[in-house]
Symmetry: C2
Subunit: 730 residues, 2 copies
């Protein structure tokens, strides 16, 4: 009863989460339930079948659910949120009624009455008059189906999935239990040899009247194939407990109900073993009801989300804020089982942790703002993430670049792990082996041969930049510069003076790619000459181009966050800088949906007197791109990077220079924001950002603890050791 009465109280942060945000416009989030940083999650799966507007096999599609699609073929039990490559989206559970049908194109259904909350999703399937409700604990998805009278079926399709990867093993243990594994990976179809298993155990609340396994047979040729009446067809294996393997297999449980009945299905997952999946299931959900699991997950979400309390916003503003915060708490996510076991990088062994092993490090995205948000609001999580990264270094010899479920996907460019670690160190989060971290960074930054993190490092060190011999040489040079800057900051803090000097110098080498005529960065040939003909516009909209990764010269023009003063100087002063910056926006080169220029709106803060432009730009962009609607993200959420941008932007501060413990300030979008601080890392209980509007909305003055700041920048220390940051708009 408690469960149903929750909503009569005042709205809590968790009540503002709208998981539909980002489920259109390629946001790539999913609306189904997940616990904070959960390994398991359930998503309605509606991207298979030609009935759908966006279909997984007819275009590049990276998510299991698209709001405008209409044809649902199951509920996937593991999913990734907000990425640009398809991955996971497997273990498809599907309730049907009537005669058994195992072809998803035939058993799929339209649906209605979708409800999505943090930790809860429900939907009615038109074709079957079945209601599905879903929740999840960290490692267990819980599905609850309300079936009408008659024959009902629950399918677990191990063939269908979001990607082309196939291969599964399954065994019906009893009329209430299934165990098995499914091959997933590799992310973006990179390193395909790294495809890996996810293990599962499914427990049903009611014993099936009948059960079985199906297996699709490939089409064989040759003499023997003439004897195979089932060549190319699906075999049904009924009431068997045998292990079945194959590229495309599945199981069914069938019921005969005299009246409306409910069946709950708990699916525990593990990246280690079936035994661990079973233990995860038992330990996390045991005999708990659907309602209990949901309540616990909801409470956990509310506790996490309540670390920031906002006041004075509209319902929509609260919703986009807390949903964004929710999206930053999905990845990185837990990899270890309840018993602490997890597969090490490359799966050469199983290791065990006393803490939390995190995975899904989309670092090229998240080094820019997600980890800064973690350092501020969830420092224990940030610390555990860094410990996980250092464990990867121990296992693998290298810090991660884009790690997913203990595979190194090597997606994107740069060497961003250093930045994430330095950010934490310099904010006082140091409960890990800092020197190990430092040497790990140095290895990535200095080892010229067989360095998987920094291709082209030799040329970079020798010339200061990558030439067109390498892919995206300008972008990559900028990334290396940013990482080198972070390393220089840690070197300085550790008193490593030589390294400090060396990396400070290295961090500025992008300047060699500055074309004074264009006032833009430009690729150079191996012989040092400019690459030409060079079109700075080429490369917009993710077109491949010589020079830049996922962007063009305009979009990358300002991505030297650690040296804005140097860039201003290069460009010829603040006026030219400001004009160039404005031009990016005016010519619609600015891409809110991608990371290279994500900090651009704040860069007017570097020009005295023009800070109001940042204030206006941020406000305008928030209004334009972020809404309480499925299309309410500008594009791929990038495991929370777009969302973290929104969280910071709505709070009126932004970590403008990754690795540097500093925030720049714009106008908060709430009247008051209270950030609770973790006493294990911070002295104060909380800090408040208070907006004081007097007139036209431009910031007139900024005070910290009542003392004027005289700057649009504030150090992390000053911020967290203050009690109130007052932003006064006259």
């Amino acid at each position: 009863m408690l469960f149903f009465s929750i909503t009569i109280f005042a709205q809590e942060p968790v009540d503002f989460v709208n998981p539909f945000i980002g489920t259109s416009n390629y946001g790539a989030t999913f609306p189904g339930p997940i616990a904070p940083r959960g390994m398991a999650s359930i998503s309605p799966f509606n991207v298979a079948g030609p009935q759908n507007k966006l279909e997984k096999d007819s275009q590049w599609l990276s998510n299991p659910y698209v709001k405008e699609n209409t044809f649902l073929t199951g509920f996937s039990q593991v999913n990734i949120s907000g990425v640009g490559c398809p991955e996971l989206g497997v273990l498809l559970l599907m309730p049907t009624t009537g005669a058994l049908e195992i072809d998803h194109l035939k058993y799929g259904s339209t649906y209605k009455n979708e409800v999505a909350k943090a930790g809860y999703y429900s939907v009615d399937l038109d074709k079957y008059n079945v209601k599905g409700e879903f929740t999840a604990s960290k490692r267990v998805g819980v599905s609850k189906f309300t079936f009408p009278k008659g024959q009902s079926n629950i399918l677990l399709n191990l063939g269908l999935g979001l990607t082309n990867e196939e291969g599964a093993m399954v065994r019906v243990v009893s009329s209430t239990e299934i165990e098995g594994m499914r091959s997933v990976g590799s992310f973006c179809y990179n390193s395909p040899e790294d495809a890996y298993p996810i293990y599962f155990v499914a427990k049903f609340s009611k014993p099936a009247a009948k059960f079985g396994v199906w297996k699709k047979t490939p089409n064989y040729k040759g003499v023997e194939a003439q004897w195979m009446t089932y060549n190319g067809k699906t075999r049904m294996m009924n009431n068997t407990i045998k292990t079945v393997v194959g590229d495309s297999i599945g199981t069914y449980f069938t019921y005969k109900f005299d009246k409306q009945e409910v069946v709950e299905v708990k699916i525990g997952v593990s990246y280690v073993s079936i035994a661990n999946a079973r233990e995860n299931l038992e330990k996390e959900t045991g005999n708990k009801s659907f309602e209990t699991v949901y309540k616990e997950t909801r409470d956990e979400w509310n506790e996490e989300l309540s670390k920031i309390l906002v006041e004075g916003g509209t319902k929509d503003e609260n919703t986009i804020f807390y949903t964004a915060l929710y999206h930053t708490l999905i990845h990185p996510n837990v990899l270890n089982d309840v018993n602490g076991e997890y597969p090490v990088i490359k799966r050469s062994k199983i290791a065990k942790t006393d803490g939390t092993r995190y995975t899904t490090f989309s670092l090229w995205d998240t080094y820019r703002n997600v980890h800064q948000l973690m350092s501020l609001v969830y420092p224990k999580q940030q610390s555990d993430m860094i410990k996980s990264m250092l464990d990867m270094y121990d296992e693998n010899g290298w810090l991660p670049k884009w790690e997913l479920n203990s595979t190194e996907t090597f997606t994107m460019v740069g060497d961003p792990a250093s930045i994430v670690i330095v950010d934490a160190c310099l904010k006082g989060i140091q409960d890990f082996d800092i020197y190990k971290a430092y040497y790990a960074m140095l290895k990535g930054a200095d080892k010229m041969e067989n360095n998987p993190l920094r291709p082209g490092l030799k040329e970079y060190i020798e010339k200061g930049y990558l030439s067109t011999n390498f892919k995206g040489p300008v972008s990559t040079t900028q990334e290396y510069n940013t990482s080198d800057y972070a390393i220089s900051l840690l070197a300085k803090a550790l008193g490593e003076k030589d390294d400090y000097k060396r990396f400070t110098k290295r961090s500025l080498s992008y300047q060699k790619l500055f074309d004074k005529d264009l006032k833009l960065l430009r690729p150079r040939l191996p012989n040092g000459k400019w690459y030409e003909p060079f079109d700075p516009n080429s490369g917009a909209n993710f077109e491949e181009n010589v020079g830049f990764i996922e962007g063009n010269a305009w979009q990358y023009a300002f991505m030297v966050p650690h040296d804005m003063k140097g860039l201003i100087k290069l460009m010829g002063g603040e006026k030219v800088f400001s004009e160039q910056l404005q031009k990016v926006f005016d010519t619609k080169q600015f891409d809110m949906a991608n990371e290279p220029d994500i900090a651009n709106p704040y860069l007017f803060n570097y020009v005295k007197g023009e800070e109001w432009k940042s204030q206006e730009m941020v406000k305008k962009l928030v209004a334009e791109y972020f809404q309480n609607a499925p299309k309410g993200l500008p594009g791929n959420d990038d495991t929370g990077t777009m969302s973290a941008w929104l969280v910071y932007s709505m709070m009126g501060i932004y970590p403008i220079s990754p690795g540097d413990p500093i925030y720049t300030i714009t106008a908060p979008l709430f009247h008051r924001i209270t950030i609770k601080l973790d006493p294990r890392y911070y002295k104060k209980d909380s800090i408040v950002i208070q907006r004081q509007i007097n007139n036209d909305g431009k910031i007139n003055s900024i005070e910290i603890n009542g003392k004027s700041l005289n700057s649009f920048f504030i150090s992390h220390d000053e911020f967290v050791n203050g009690t109130m940051l007052k932003v006064i708009q006259n």
Copy 2:
């Protein structure tokens, strides 16, 4: 050292086994090691690749090895001997040297110096200069590879196999261990939904320097496939312990040797689980050396084979005799693990036995002579086989027809289980629930609806025969008659007078198919009229025809073993009978390689004064079809049926009427034969068959314990309770 000194002693029965017999001429035996009735066995696998004369994909081929082939692609760890459909022939272990190559068409090799003994096989691989030696315990295959200096590899290919069935799961546990499963079945591609798993654990005596798994990727279409650089290619997954599944996968272990080195690989198998496969391996072979395992298996073979001692034969005669006896001791084979567990029929659960669960019941073949040989020489095994058959009845509701690894393959026609059971009962082997057996027989014989054993039973009971509405109606009627006769015998013994009468009558209904003009059995139409036009020659050489299964009217003409006197009468007396019988041989209709006419050579014994024809015919057929050579079986051994024919024929007795405890007598081919009797079932220790040749080789008189028999038939009781059967040829 003991091992190498064995051969200096006098030759024992085991030394006469030549496992190459039957490896050509479609005998379908394999030359590799197996323990008596073993679950595991190792066969050189040389039927893949266009280099081979007989290639598995270019023709119907039912065996993993063909003597005249030359290109070897591995050593399969589970195999079936002497059957007509391809099955098992999977878990292909292959040693190679040099750079790793995982395509069997490339890594295959020619070979030389093959040696095959009971429980032992060795061969030298030309391409790699590697010697392979192989032995096996009941559930474990042991391979010993002698590698030259340099890089060596041991592949375990789980893709390649004898049939088109695919699908496997594998995990490298450590640098000395692999575990996994492979899908096999279904036999003859019947009941394909019954494909089932075989589990395995492989242990290596030396840790691999490197190891890994490969996986072949199907060729995908669609947009995403454009991103798959590996589409349709093989992925190599190195030094990983992850579980890999897929249709075509395999593992490799790689070594770097400074000098010649030996690696032993033990592969335990189970039809229950990986855990059981591991337990089988540990309990049976533990830390035993290759030599110890071989010695134990050899000793076991010798003990089994020594149950019959022959004297006075040539080396070749001894060899074909003991090899035939060896072939009758391969199937039925053990299904249960060392802990007693086995999957029940249809794999709806795992059960446990205190005794032995047997499998591979090719009953259409073996009811004719194999089980009669078991009842006589290995009555405990026969009893355990019957217990297994009754357990199948408990599990499944039906006695087996053609059972393989707990699948009912429904191969061939008839209901032969009753005959096998009755044979034992009437020979005093009764340590099982006879009444349960009796009711199980009655169910198969009487249940008219949904009877999987006896299709067409309703028509058979109503009309006395199957019409052309059914496949092979004449053959099937004959089979049902023979089974009904066996049931009548048991009914009589149990005092079930009504059943006795009813089944006696039913057993003679074949007579309604006797065409007096042709003096042959002939199919009838559903309306009762003869099927015409009818060609009695049609159906030779396994051609499909209306009337008969795997044969024609001539080949089936005498297959009413229980009513030869009735048949003689039908035909018009002994003279016509004898002429018709002779005609079968003279017109070359007789097929030594198939079962329907397998008893024909003995049928002259039913004609007073013509018994010498049987004596001559048997002698001639043995000489013509059975040799100490790969082609030394007339065709498929049919899980020992051809071999049992030879064993009986060489001993001079034959179980002429299946189910009836009676032997008919011809001239033994040895001077003296001693059959040891099992004291648990028989009163005497042994019986001797003694040949006394005086003149032209025709039998002059027969004596049992010195008393003249006055017949060419002897009851089982009289035989086993005698001490000496003396056959005197004048």
